[in-house]
Amino acid sequence: MDLLWNLLQGFEVALLPQNLLAALIGAALGTAVGVLPGLGPLGGAALILPFTYSMEPTAAIIMIAGIYYGGMYGGSTTSVLLNVPGETASVVTTLDGYPLAQKGRAAPTLFIMAIGSAIAAFISLVLLIFFSPWLARFGLKFGPAEFFAVMTCGLILLSRVSGGNLVSNLFPLMIGIIAGTVGQEAVSSVPRFTFGYFPLIAGLELTAIAIGLFGIAEILRTIEAKESLPKVMRIRVRDMLPSRDEWRRSWGPWGRGSLVGFVFGLLPGPSAALSSFTSYQLEKKVAKGRAEMGKGAIEGVAGPEAANNAAATSGMIPVLALGLPFSATLALILAALMIHGIQPGPLLPTKHPDIFWGVIASMFVGNIMLLVLNIPMIGVWVSMLRVPSWLLGAFVLVIATLGTYSVRGNMMDVYVLAAASGFGYFFHKLGFSLSPLILGLILGPEIEKHMRQGLYLSRGHLTYFIERPIAGAIWGVTITVLIIVLVMRFVKKDMSRKMASFEIED
């Protein structure tokens, strides 16, 4: 009963005009950045981050979350129409989405994707509603040892299971953690690594680094080669209705994909990309039309699309209930909360029920908006594919700089932005993953805080960090997973190679 009451209160918050507007803008911007070439949901969320600083915390989180799941949908549109995935989680959608478009079924495929994404988000949200209070109660048993274990193990697992080789993830992760140590230290206010330069006392600004790494570096990559505008087919709303057979074949993949996505969203790693890949593999085994998979089977689109949206939704659970993001976009949501002085974690539902339940309820609202935006307005999004990248690039460069400067009015942040964009370009070229850098930057100071608190509490006994039951179990599970990954590598080399091809920028 309490749960229902809390949810109703959440809807009361989500339906406030400013929050509705935030959800609408977030969903629309998310779809746009997903569709537009050269700017993924992560770059879009990073660009929006400075503008959310002056907003109410609930509206800010609602907007960034809207960009996140809006981007998941928008990215798939280009997968179907152009065979170009808008973001990593949509790579799998190209396998059957593009062949379906070539068969003249692009419009119904986009419809199936929109409905499937919404259904998956709703299933994931219902599970999230039942799961969150339990996780929050569980989280109340967390002390410094548990938080230290869950954050450290999360980062270790992320580095190991994300695909690519170990150092490709660990190297940027450590750079992020080290960047997080610059500036005034939180416990005793001692300035560290500032070299007496005053603007560095406040530390390196997350926004500048995130926008540089994911927004501008992406623009630099798109201007490398001369572009030719893609030929985009016309999509009319009246052509979008799927056939009875397509409807019938989509229900199963939607349900299975939603469950797969929900589970993956709770785990460290590029959950959206991995869940869509797993869902595709599952459909290849169980779907009625499995013989057609890879040649244009609707199941190959319905399942993965449901999975990546469900993962985007359930990924909010560890962020809100434990303060633990498992992807860079979720890390930006965490950062937005922390900037407003709100500490996500087990106490969030009781201390800030308006934010906790408001954000959950707003995701229902946001997904309905996404549906409304994407079905009748599909023509608008498709026409955005004709926006030349040079015009978009110029806009992004300017908005990124002005947005970064507006956060603190500090020129240091603009210099960091310029440096981070060059750094992001080279690191991406050399095959390093960039998401761990952002996670390290955000979680590094938190890990330090819990480590030092733990040492104080235990009077310097290092065993404190593993002897408490939950912390011990987390370390145990991590070691087990690492061993399994190692064994799997030898057993299934082919599988690892496929996983390695996934980047982790989701």
Partner: protein, 161 residues
């Protein structure tokens, strides 16, 4: 020809990552040296220097790992950077952006933004100077309305301050 290009991109990957690892190692050493000025404290009362010491050492080890991986792995990746005109365009645009960041506070946001957008659209879009100047003017006005008028952000205005 294809095989040459492939071995060249593997070589670029190896050299690039080895250089990144070496720079990381150098940075880690400097970081640890600078971190010596911070109080480590004791295990039961850790100071502000303990965490940088731990992460500095790990970073040095990881950087060494990057170098070893780059030089020794049999499973090397591929990396290629643009050549000729493409490289020239990229370097020019990045140079313009760095210059924009540096001059942003000196000549002010309107002039710097106008110059950046004009150059960017002219070089990347290969449109006429007139169209590029119009793009520059339009974007600057739009940004001024969005940031200064609507969002009330105090931006450096240069000669218009």
């Amino acid at each position: 020809m294809g095989s040459n290009a492939s071995s060249e991109s593997i070589r670029t990957w190896r050299i690039g990552r080895a250089v990144a690892g070496a720079l990381g190692l150098l940075f880690a050493i400097l970081y640890l040296i600078e971190g010596r000025n911070l109080d480590i404290g004791r295990l039961n009362a850790p100071g502000p220097g303990i965490f940088p010491l731990v992460v500095g050492v790990i970073f040095a080890l990881v950087s060494a790992g990057v170098i070893a991986d780059a030089l020794l792995t049999k499973d090397a990746g591929k990396a290629s950077f643009p050549q000729g005109e493409d490289r020239k365009r990229l370097v020019t645009i990045y140079g313009c952006f760095v210059l924009y960041a540096v001059l942003f506070n000196v000549i002010g946001f309107p002039l710097a933004t106008f110059a950046l957008v004009t150059l960017f659209t002219r070089i990347v879009g290969e449109i006429s100077w007139l169209k590029a100047i119009l793009c520059g003017l339009g974007t600057t006005c739009l940004m001024w309305v969005a940031f200064v008028v609507l969002l009330n952000v105090r931006l450096p205005m240069g000669i218009w301050s």
